[in-house]
Symmetry: C2
Subunit: 161 residues, 2 copies
Amino acid sequence: MPASPVAFAKHDHSACSGDILKQADALARTEGLRLTPVRRRTLEILLESHQALGAYEVLERLAEDGFGHQPPVAYRALEFLVEHGLVHRIRRLNAFAACMHPGSPHRPVFFICTGCDTVAEAPGTGVGEAITRAATTVGFSVERMNVEAVGLCPACQECTA
Amino acid sequence: MPASPVAFAKHDHSACSGDILKQADALARTEGLRLTPVRRRTLEILLESHQALGAYEVLERLAEDGFGHQPPVAYRALEFLVEHGLVHRIRRLNAFAACMHPGSPHRPVFFICTGCDTVAEAPGTGVGEAITRAATTVGFSVERMNVEAVGLCPACQECTA
DNA sequence: CTTGTTATGTAATATCATAACAATTCGCAA
DNA sequence: TTGCGAATTGTTATGATATTACATAACAAG
């Protein structure tokens, strides 16, 4: 399954991972979210792996930690996290990745490298606006959107060049 | 499975359907595509239904017409058509819809109505550019992208209003 | 006609996701 | 504190989507 760094740059992951977990805890307090053990652990798993993981991979790790072994266990936790903006769903990969900017509303764009299966979440500056503009021309009111691009990350461009 | 008009407006579908099929044939001639019976029939099925169809729905209809009964029959034809820009894949719905502007390169945006499950293909003016711009800032080179927005179509906005 | 290539058909299976129900836990009002 | 309703977790079972692997058939070039 594919990797999912914040961006394609190297960075101290254990730090950002911890940061985000703290932000999630804060969010839970301020917004009254119930970040229960399974849910919190699910988020941790995604943060630790720093990858986009399939639901069954998440499930496997949850099971190792003493949680349930059945698909709904993972799907429910993931659904909750997605709903509250702590996790993103990458439809192209049938996978889930921890959000790198929880709390702050954003319209992420995902860049999926076909070379190394890495996924990066980038701020989709202007993308949301363009989509909303296109929507209004046909009278459509947008609730949510997902933008995923496939291509080559910097490292893999080097390799093929 | 969800419907997929060109846009949310009514129109003479048998006309546009025939047009697109002709365009596909022309494309096959000029670009040397092998629009074989299964492939052509698959495109027809999508055009006839004027909807986004799941692979198994397409398969069922192909089987009725004397083609194979196994999933790869449908998946292969669909893959071919997607690859050559005659069909779009709607990841959010695990479904496929005939492209309404084959030949001319475009960056479609799909609007998926949660009220009536209708899907509309709209020109993503400015969207592609915005994504490409976001990509270059992280050094990513985009090959393909899929942009899908969920919300309410004009008709369904009325209903809930 | 033969050879390499592309396309099609089929069986089997892998992967992803949800429905339905039981048991438990939690928040909260009485 | 007790009891109630709602939310959460767990399990069984099944549904839906997609691919691998291999056999056969069509086709184009030499």
